[in-house]
Amino acid sequence: MKLNQYIQPATLVLALMLTVTSTALAGGPWPQPKGGYYLKLSEWWVVFDEHFTDSGETDPNVTTGIYNTFLYGEYGVTDRATVLFNGALFSRNVMNNLRSSTTNEVIAKGEGLNSIGDIDVGLKYGLTKPGAALPVSASIILGLPTGATAGGELGNLQTGDGEFNQMIQIDAGQGFKVGKSPAYASAYTGFNNRTNGFSEEFRYGAEVGIGLVDQKLWLNTKLNVIESLKNGDTAATTNSTNIFANNTEFKSVAFEANYFVTKNVGISASYATVFYGEIIAAAPSYNVGVFVNMR
């Protein structure tokens, strides 16, 4: 458990989307070359019957599912400037029926909400020249509140957090060799300025990856951390149901595999799990997709 996400789906989705695109292919400190692009269509989902509470422990909740069909894209406007797009083209948030184990009667009817989700647009700029030994880039990402914030009879379903946020991010990384295989390591830090009573967030993370099988297979693992400044509204200060999505924190680890089916087209799969969290789902999330890489 928004529990739900608590449990709030929207922040959860946007945050964990950090985990679904390999820096080897997109993202990270490496802008696309001029005219180059990367597109990924993927399905991301999490189903959870427990959530991390505000004390960092886990409590049960009605089983909740969040399913998103994402389109992620990057396009190199110049060799140093890349525009970014990350949108949930279709988002579904569902909660199970809650039945009495004694009488089998429905205590709380399950519901579902379908809509477009929130969309991020952004610009990444290479602070170092292409080919630099230690590439560094800066990004600004704007989160557009295009999702639904309160669906269902109790307003407890959402596909967006209802706030316009602005995030600045610095990425740095380096490529190297492991034996004969190309590999890389990157890290980022960012600050997410949120509106509408939401707490600001400090974000950071790191990723390592390696290309295998003649660079057809790329494996990576990444760490993502969001720390809330907890300076937003609470139930004591607002009646907004959007506090569902507030003060979320987590530390997650993700594992991803990308496989090139053709020279430019591939499939990907990832698994991410939160090992510490507050007000966020306590269950792994999954992502599978297809990408086109025209770098």
């Binding site: 458990m1 928004k2 529990l3 739900n4 608590y6 449990i7 269509l41 399905e43 989902w45 019957d49 509470t53 505000d54 004390s55 422990e57 886990t58 409590d59 049960p60 909740n61 009605v62 089983t63 909740t64 599912g65 399913y67 069909t69 579904r92 569902v94 909660m95 199970n96 029926n97 809650l98 039945r99 009495s100 184990s101 004694t102 009488t103 205590i107 709380a108 399950g110 519901e111 579902g112 109790l154 307003g155 407890n156 609470t234 139930a235 004591a236 149901t241 506090i243 569902f244 507030n246 003060n247 089916v261 053709t262 087209v265 499939i267 007000i279 599978v288 997709g289 297809v290 086109v292």
Partner: protein, 229 residues
């Protein structure tokens, strides 16, 4: 191009397949059935009658209408008919009990009454206890649950040591006969005060009608804590 189209279609199909169902979760809401005498008759005047009342709660704490059996332990002092009408005969003390029996179980409750030269009903009943968390969300505090002196209902007062989490969306307080469920509960209202002393005025509820105070996150049906009345 055909391969790309197939991959895209597979991704979309996977999404449609995954997101189609709403399943069932089950709440352990069993509790032992209970019958409860709700009339707080203390003393009954000789040669007068008084209507006793009872409530029956089934195995999930829902109130049900039943045909109960009333008894008096000493019928020389007072008798009671099957509708709960007690009649006083001579001075003394007797125990009035109510019984309900089904194929699976039998439940009962009893109370003592004194027969004397006047009638007295207990007024302004009051009880106290503690609400505490049953989750990892903070909730604690002493409470007093009492009939209002003007007879207009119930007053639930949380003491100065009360505090609860303000991070939950839609935290509500209820009166219930099932500490695990709010399915048949009386909703007092949304929690607006998260620490310190405060009072709820509750109308339309009798003192003996509920057994528990429960705190639930209403939108997600997550129990936060409870207190026994």
């Amino acid at each position: 191009m055909k391969k790309i189209t197939q991959l895209v279609l597979m991704t979309l199909l996977l999404g449609a397949t995954l997101s189609s169902c709403i399943g069932d979760d089950f709440l352990d809401d069993f509790r032992e059935p209970e019958i409860r005498i709700t009339t707080m008759l203390d003393t009954l005047e000789i040669n007068t009658s008084f209507q006793m009342e009872q409530l029956y709660f089934n195995n999930v704490g829902a109130e049900e209408m039943i045909q109960a059996t009333w008894r008096s332990s000493d019928e020389t002092i007072a008798t009671i008919d099957n509708d709960g009408l007690v009649t006083a005969h001579e001075k003394g003390e007797t125990t009035i009990s109510v019984h309900y029996e089904s194929d699976d179980f039998m439940v009962s409750d009893s109370t003592s009454i004194i027969v004397d030269g006047f009638t007295a009903v207990e007024e302004f009943a009051s009880t106290s206890g503690e609400v505490k968390t049953t989750s990892s969300y903070k909730l604690r505090g002493d409470f007093t649950f009492s009939e209002k002196t003007d007879g207009s209902g119930i007053e639930l007062s949380l003491a100065e040591n009360y505090c609860t989490s303000d991070r939950l969306p839609g935290l509500y307080i209820y009166l219930s006969n099932n500490r695990n469920s709010i399915a048949n509960a009386f909703e007092i209202g949304e929690v607006k005060i998260f620490e310190g002393a405060h009072t709820y005025d509750i109308e339309g509820v009798n003192f003996n009608e509920y057994s528990f105070i429960v705190y639930f996150c209403k939108p997600f049906n997550v129990k936060v804590g409870d207190g026994e009345l």
